[in-house]
Symmetry: C2
Subunit: 299 residues, 2 copies
């Protein structure tokens, strides 16, 4: 139907920004992408894309940390972060004021989790954990489709891991000498091997080290969050031979402790993303459809 409502979606990553228009069923009708630069140049490009598109509302998934509790123009403000140009950018307010539609903002990983829970590998599951392993490591968590917030949004990629006995590098995280992101993100793999993960053979022992860290993260998230399914995505997880290795590491660590029917078969409990890189964008569409109807002053 030509009069079907359309929603806007913006995924803001460290290197690229994707804007899209789609419908409630998760169909993307139009999309564009451009490299991430600064709010001064990028926010106008975003609003230009949606100008005249007739979107009813907008969902935004951005690198964090982002303030989801501020009211008015403070809602969806990027907090102090390594990307200095973006630190303090009142992203949510800028977009809402320019486009005059309700705007929902979340972390890129929560958006991806909403996407998987709504349309992907978490569909039909009560509580969904999404772990992205790429330039950084992030976690998103949804409870009956609603993202976990609280103090901010989960930052579980920075939770502690124990160093592998054969480790040769120091943490790549600028904050933590001992976090999952520091030892298992794409840049950590590259520091360890001097080359990017996709060029490393599947049988290289470095993948055992990678799986050692990821399985610690998965085990801790599993025990602390009690999710119904764990979806893993991001560039590093495109090395699909990591999945059985991570599952083995988790199984070994659990020692059979309180395994339920759903988690007994780790092949169906720890699964790859089904949305081929569009999970955050589709999550933003869902966020937009949920914020639609709220008055502009709601947030």
């Amino acid at each position: 139907m030509s009069d079907q409502r359309t929603y806007g979606a913006i995924e803001i990553g460290g290197t690229k920004i994707i804007c899209a228009v789609g419908t409630e069923d998760g169909t993307i009708q139009e999309r564009t992408r451009f490299p991430t630069s600064s709010p001064e140049t990028d926010v106008p490009r975003m609003t230009d894309f949606f100008s005249g598109s007739g979107i009813s509302s907008l969902g935004v998934g951005t690198f964090g940390p982002v303030d989801l509790r501020g009211k008015g123009d403070e809602y969806g403000k990027i907090l102090e972060c390594p990307r200095e140009k973006w630190s303090g950018c009142p992203l949510g307010g800028l977009l809402r004021n320019a486009l005059k539609v309700p705007v929902a903002v979340d972390s890129d990983v929560n958006a991806a989790c909403i996407g998987e829970a709504s349309f992907g590998a978490g569909k039909g599951k009560e509580n969904v954990l999404y772990i992205t392993v790429g330039t950084g490591i992030g976690i998103g968590f949804t409870i009956d489709g609603r993202p976990l917030h609280g103090l901010m949004h989960p930052e579980g990629g920075h939770s502690k891991v124990m160093m592998h006995p054969d480790e040769t590098i120091s943490s790549v995280c600028r904050f933590h000498p001992d976090c999952a992101e520091g030892f298992a993100s794409g840049p950590a793999v590259e520091r360890r091997c001097g080359r990017r993960g996709e060029s490393i053979p599947k049988d290289d022992p470095v993948w055992e080290i990678e799986a050692y860290y990821l399985s610690q993260l998965v085990r801790n998230c599993m025990q602390i969050l009690s999710p119904n399914v764990i979806v893993m995505g991001g560039g590093v997880m495109e090395q699909s031979h990591l999945f059985p290795m991570v599952r083995d590491g988790v199984r070994e660590q659990l020692h059979g402790h309180y395994v339920r029917a759903e988690s007994a078969d780790l092949d169906t409990y720890i699964v790859p993303s089904l949305l081929g890189g569009s999970q955050a964008l589709l999550g933003c569409i869902r966020m937009a459809s949920e914020v639609f109807g709220h008055p502009l002053s709601h947030l």
Copy 2:
């Protein structure tokens, strides 16, 4: 008012069971306790206590693991656990069928978290993490007052900790050689020192080891769950000198990463229970008041 509605509460621990009758405002009117034995002797004692009490509904917090997703008589069933007599006990169904009132069941730690969130140190906070450090270590988590379930309920006491370099004992956990419960529960303190924590001087170096483990657990829960406040209770935490030590350990591990206003002051972010051991019982009263009005067939 004599016609004020009353609710039942049962806290089932490894060594004792407490039954109480109270009102919605958290007033306990009557309580009894007896040692934990077996379902065959204990369930009748519970139902006898409430017989004729006129309670409108019942909340139960029990040692886990407990199935919160089963329907009918399967709801609130104790799963396979070290307490063999209780493994498989259909607790929720037995109590509901005997008392003919709606029954809500949760883990003892989720019940305690509900208590703190409703009446204690988490009151007024959006998302509350409760960590108990006693015979075992458990975590409970509430989101706007509702407990986190998912696959089951959090079992974060079994998440991974890195061993202290001066550690002299092996894990006391029968499952995990490397979990928080294994190294920081009361029995772990006792194995390490040959005596119970309350008899160990405050300046004994063993408390540094204890805080080392607890601060790892708190840091991981903080990053994974993003709570608005962290309440700690249980027998071991009655050693109140542990609080500043745990806060110091957490502060050191965070390295200033994404600290928000609420978490910048760890003195008000990581706090002792305010309910003096009644947190689970009060949580059960709240659970009962929330399940009241649901038909018996609801669960």
